[in-house]
């Protein structure tokens, strides 16, 4: 059975009632799995230690998080991305962020040590957190902390990010590191936060060719997203041959998401999760861990992640949502919820559809051409070049 990592401490990562990154998403997901009668192997992780955090983040930043966590309002917090509209300080934020990082560490450790073939961490995915700065709802970069641990164990890690936002924090933290492949599919930074993640961001020095970005057009739909995924992801994983795959499974590329502009349905997510499991089997000895991430539609997000849960467990996802669960949450949220786990076929009217598909295809082609130019086949640490 695939272990599912979760802790009640995760619920303390809470920026307040009106903030989109709400722990309610986790409550909905956990109760949904329970309503389905699922009884997986729950694993409660230890929080990451201060030392774990310092392997990725600057101490001056960690000291600011600790101060903010104690309720001390330093004037310079804002230089560290704290106390802003997006990432307000709250009491206990250091402990809560370390709890999430501990879960991602645990999931990666379970898989790396062979205790579990794969693992699912029901939290984390805070991919925007930078070396010395909180950013975009993210305080500590749980993904980078877990990757750093794996590197110290001598492992090569492929990081795949399907969140609608560019996985900038993970990319910049490992920008010089040839043993980490980062691969992010996202809405183009020309329009969306954080404004980076262009194809020419390929890594630095010995790591050139190990940082891959697929910036997609606003209003991209399932077919075009899947096409871009298939053009790049299998080739990159095959060429990089990681020891372990870590996936940030943000659900905010869904068309119901209030913060972004891609138009995916559960179909694209199902495709991505299924293929990543297959590709990990083919190129990483099956070792793969998934975290959550962004996802701000309370209708779509729990469904995307429940789908992830069933696929990771190797189970066939059920069609309907449990009636009682849906009625309960419709009453709590005061709005109707989609009655099926997967989306009904949507009807979008997109005037630029052909142009969007063409531009996305060209982006994937440009990335492949750049890779051919920058990473000669067989070079250590290179990846993704089409042979």
């Amino acid at each position: 059975m695939v272990p599912v990592v979760i802790s009640p401490r995760y619920l303390a990562y809470d920026f307040g009632p009106d903030h989109p990154f709400t722990p309610r998403r986790l409550e909905m997901l956990k109760s949904l799995l329970e309503a389905y009668g699922e009884r997986p192997l729950w694993v409660e992780p230890e929080p990451a230690s201060r030392e774990d955090v310092l392997k990725v983040h600057a101490e001056r930043f960690v000291r600011r998080v600790e101060a903010a966590s104690r309720g001390e309002a330093g004037a310079d917090l804002v230089h560290y991305g704290l106390g802003t509209g997006d990432t307000p300080a709250f009491p206990g934020m250091d402990e809560a962020a370390r709890a999430l990082a501990g879960g991602t560490l645990e999931a990666v450790r379970l898989v790396a040590t062979g205790k579990a073939p794969r693992a699912l961490q029901l939290g984390g995915g805070l991919h925007h957190a930078q070396y010395d700065r909180a950013s975009g709802f993210c305080v500590y970069n749980d993904l980078a902390i877990a990757i750093r641990w794996a590197l110290d164990e001598g492992l090569r890690v492929a990081y795949v990010d399907v969140d609608v936002h560019h996985g900038d924090g993970v990319q910049w933290i490992f920008y010089d590191e040839p043993r980490v492949l980062t691969l992010s599919l996202h809405e183009s930074g020309r329009y969306l936060f954080p404004g980076t993640g262009f194809v020419h961001e390929l890594g630095r020095g010995p790591a050139v060719g190990t940082k891959l970005n697929l910036p997609l057009e606003p209003f991209t739909e399932d077919e075009s997203w899947i096409e871009a995924f298939e053009m790049v992801v299998p080739r990159a994983l095959e060429h990089f041959r990681p020891d372990l795959v870590l996936v940030q499974s943000g659900a905010d590329a869904h068309h119901l998401d209030p913060l972004a502009d891609l138009l995916l349905t559960t179909r694209a997510f199902r495709h991505a999760f299924t293929r990543l499991l297959e590709l990990a089997e083919a190129h990483a000895g099956g070792r793969i861990a998934f975290t959550l991430g962004g996802g701000y539609s309370l209708d779509a997000t729990p469904r995307v992640w429940a789908l992830l849960y069933f696929l990771v467990q190797g189970k066939t996802p059920p069609e309907a949502l449990p009636e009682a669960w849906r009625r309960h949450w419709e009453a709590v949220l005061g709005e109707p919820l989609t009655p099926t786990l997967e989306d009904p076929k949507p009807e979008f009217t997109i005037p630029r559809r052909a142009e969007i598909e063409r531009r996305n295809r060209r982006t994937a082609e440009r990335l492949l051409v750049l890779l051919r130019d920058f990473s000669p086949p067989g070079k250590t640490g290179s990846s993704g070049s089409s042979r």
Partner: protein, 210 residues
């Protein structure tokens, strides 16, 4: 943005008595296309481009100059220059009007830098890009006093930092404002701006979301 913020230094120069062959080799080695010509007293006396050399020595010409011709025979003068404190846009306009590829930058009589078309492209990238994590929002404002203040006050009220603003006039006496704001929540902000009567161009409304 001023010339001194984008110019390159130190400047690679050549003397007026050097040969075209030497000048050509220097350009080739350094990967540059423009050489300010500086005399023994350190004063700027001309400018030499790779194009000047090619045209002067071309066999297609009636009397092509030999490779050992002197730089002063070919260089252009007087030289158009910029001051380090000139706004970048003034320098760009001058280069555009005169159809020239570079401006040596003089502080008094001292040559302190050089500005080329490539540096202006760099400036454009900085002006339109984001160097810190930020989202993009585009708002059309009427071209009249107080409008931009109204817009920026909205972000101040939300405690959201504006990382950069790019504005340019469009038709009908209106001004397009492209803001890079340090937040993930551009969509909800756009809705609120619309509710307050602003014309938000990006992000557009999603008719299909509920």
């Amino acid at each position: 943005m001023l010339v001194k913020d984008v110019m390159k230094r130190p400047v690679i120069t050549i003397g007026p008595e050097a040969t075209l062959h030497e000048a050509h080799r220097l350009m080739w080695e350094k990967g540059i296309r423009h050489l300010p010509v500086v005399d023994a007293r350190g004063e700027l006396v001309g400018i030499l481009t790779d194009r000047d050399i090619r045209l002067a020595t071309s066999n297609l010409r009636e009397n092509p100059l030999p490779c050992d011709a002197k730089v002063y025979e070919v260089m252009t003068r007087p030289v158009l220059t910029a001051d380090p404190l000139d706004p970048v846009e003034d320098a760009a306009r001058l280069m555009r009007e005169e159809k020239i590829g570079c401006l040596p930058v003089l502080e008094g009589k001292d040559l302190v830098g050089i500005l080329t078309g490539i540096d202006l492209l760099d400036a454009l990238i900085v002006l339109t890009g984001a160097t810190r994590p930020a989202g993009r929002i585009e708002v059309l404002l009427p071209d009249r006093p107080g409008e931009l203040t109204r817009l920026t006050a909205f972000f101040a009220e939300k405690k959201i930092n504006i990382h950069s603003v790019l504005t340019y006039p469009v038709a009908d006496d209106r001004v397009m404002n492209v803001l890079r704001v340090e937040t993930l929540e551009v969509r909800p902000l756009a809705e609120e701006l619309r509710a307050r009567g602003f014309e938000v161009v990006w992000p557009p409304e999603k008719p299909w979301s509920r």
